[in-house]
Amino acid sequence: MVSDRYSVLVNDHEFLGESVLDEKSVLYFREDERLTLKSQNISSAMVQDSLDGLVALGKSKDGFVKHALRRPVWLKILKSRLSIDANNVSESEKGLSEFVTHKDEHQVSLDVKRSFGDIKDDVAKSFLRQALEQTITKVLRRFPQLNYYQGYHDVVAVFVLVFMHTHKADEEAELSDSTSGTPSTDGSDYHETLSSSSISTKLADDSVLFIDSDQLFESVMIFTLLYLRDFMMSSLAFTIDQLVLIPLIVKDKDPRFYRTFQLNEIDPFFALSSVLTLFSHDLRPQSNESLSIVFQIFDLVISSNSMMVPLTVYSNLLLAKKDDLLTRLKDNLDNFENDTDLIHGVIQQEMIVGSSVQLWNEVLETTRIANSSSFPNAKKTVNKYSVLLTASHVPTTIDQALSWLAKETRLNEMRSSLESVNNKAKTPSPAISRWRLIARSAGPNLIKMSLFIGVAAILMKLYLRSLEGHQVYPQIALKSYLDQLKSLKFSGLNQSRRIWLDPLKNLLKNIGRPSRS
């Protein structure tokens, strides 16, 4: 829910959701029972060490329910996907890398300063910002090959909120920050153990905020290496490759809407902030709302091990808002300079801001049911080492993840240098840039197409030559054409070694002649 009236009281028990009792208490109790039951199930799956159980629970309604459960569950699932060998990075290396600043740290601090703006308590706000900056900086210094992007801080901020917990100084039991308002009634609740790496701050009312910074860092690091690599190249190219899948998913499900809404015509940049941040930029997560949509989206990504989730959620949201979007499109035809602005504007006005919690829940449910972990078209659109394709090779090691990262980085550099050559050759006209975009989004297809044209040209030439010999009887021409095709496979055998001078000409020299037989 996005509204201006958030009052985040991190120093207060009130935020546990008691206010809900007044209005819709019947609904509340039923939901409360359901959530309590689910929490118990998650806890016992934790105790039983059942990864499959946890994954299934994360993929079902309400995700992992509350932050107290999310913390251990996210960490457990993520660590099962990417094993971190503590000895992998030697202590000296670790120590060294932590002192070498990353090129993007200035940008990080600019963005951190503008984070957690909704948190009212100044002490809490600066504590969260400190944790955010430390975590991002640590990841970047550890992996200097990553490029920071605006929006990465929104993703990490979600982790910071999840890993933060509140604790009253005079209380023995840990305060649960669930929405259920009935902490510790569920007997099997999983209990976290605090490690020595906790950072904490005391608020004005003596309550204490904790974050286990090692656990936070570990989760963010694995999440980054497994799911955010495409976004952390030096250019946006691989991000755009992912965005291009949104119109394709929509086309699959509703070709008519795809055409009427001109999704075939414009670049899907409208989805950029949602996809780059897994919706955390637009949905502005609140620390006190464990059930808010954005946390559930993260639950779904982590449990289904797939970055198709944000793309599918976005597509499903477009489809769910189809009628509103089309109405707004009609109403605004005269209000924009061009079609790109029109679609971008209509979506911006309608999608995120105008979507109710209920609608979001429906969209998430649709996404969960459809099990969207793979999309056949993804292979054609994204690079071979994209997070969308490597997920199937999980569980993996940190070395493997870093090798994917290195390969992606190389592919990205190759593409960038190719583009800059193109740019130098000609200032892009809209038509050309569109073509380039198509080429970019359909790289492998384009190669296939040019190969096809090449082969077709050879066949055509052969056919024309056979016609030359048999102008009167087309059937004979066809036969000799087929003969020539047969001889094609032996061509080149008797060629001189300098075939590279003009391979095609040499190839055609003998076999192109009318058959001598």
């Binding site: 600019l110 703006g117 300079e337 006209s429």
Partner: protein, 208 residues
Amino acid sequence: MSSRKKNILKVIILGDSGVGKTSLMHRYVSDKFSQQYKATIGADFLTKEVTMDGDKVATMQVWDTAGQERFQSLGVAFYRGADCCVLVYDVTNAKSFENIKSWRDEFLVHANVSSPDSFPFVILGNKLDVEESKKVVSNRAAQDMAKSLGNIPLFLTSAKGSINVDTAFEEIARNALQQSQADADAFEDDFNDAINIQLDGEPSSCNC
């Protein structure tokens, strides 16, 4: 080709990260300031109805962009059809001032405007409200640069303190309107030429 029925003035705000682009847009459009603006990702826009010279009504569409360099490649999509480009620097940040020229060049490369020499820019030096000791860009240096880039109008503003923002945007609107009309005239000229050839000089009945 779709003709524009409404008078839309498309304005693009560019500048380094954190100079106050989003704040300026919100101050102008809704006369608000908040410490809670997040970093912009991609592009957002707001619109405002403007009246100029007493009678001319237009809709100004202000497009706010991300400051991080990696998002510049999206420019091609967002700059198209712009009528004025606002270049923003932060008076407490020398680097953001030095980058003004490259933001202008970057815009001209990607916007594909018909006549780059006459395309209107306006420069805003923002955060004027901060204490004197923190200001590192002198007014003199700013004026010199504005002049050297082709007499671009310069305003020192504060989105937070609501200083000069309305005045600056009035100038932006005037420039945008002029540019928009010049573009429309150029289009009409081409159009009329085409008609003249066919209809042998029959006078155009459209006087809109």
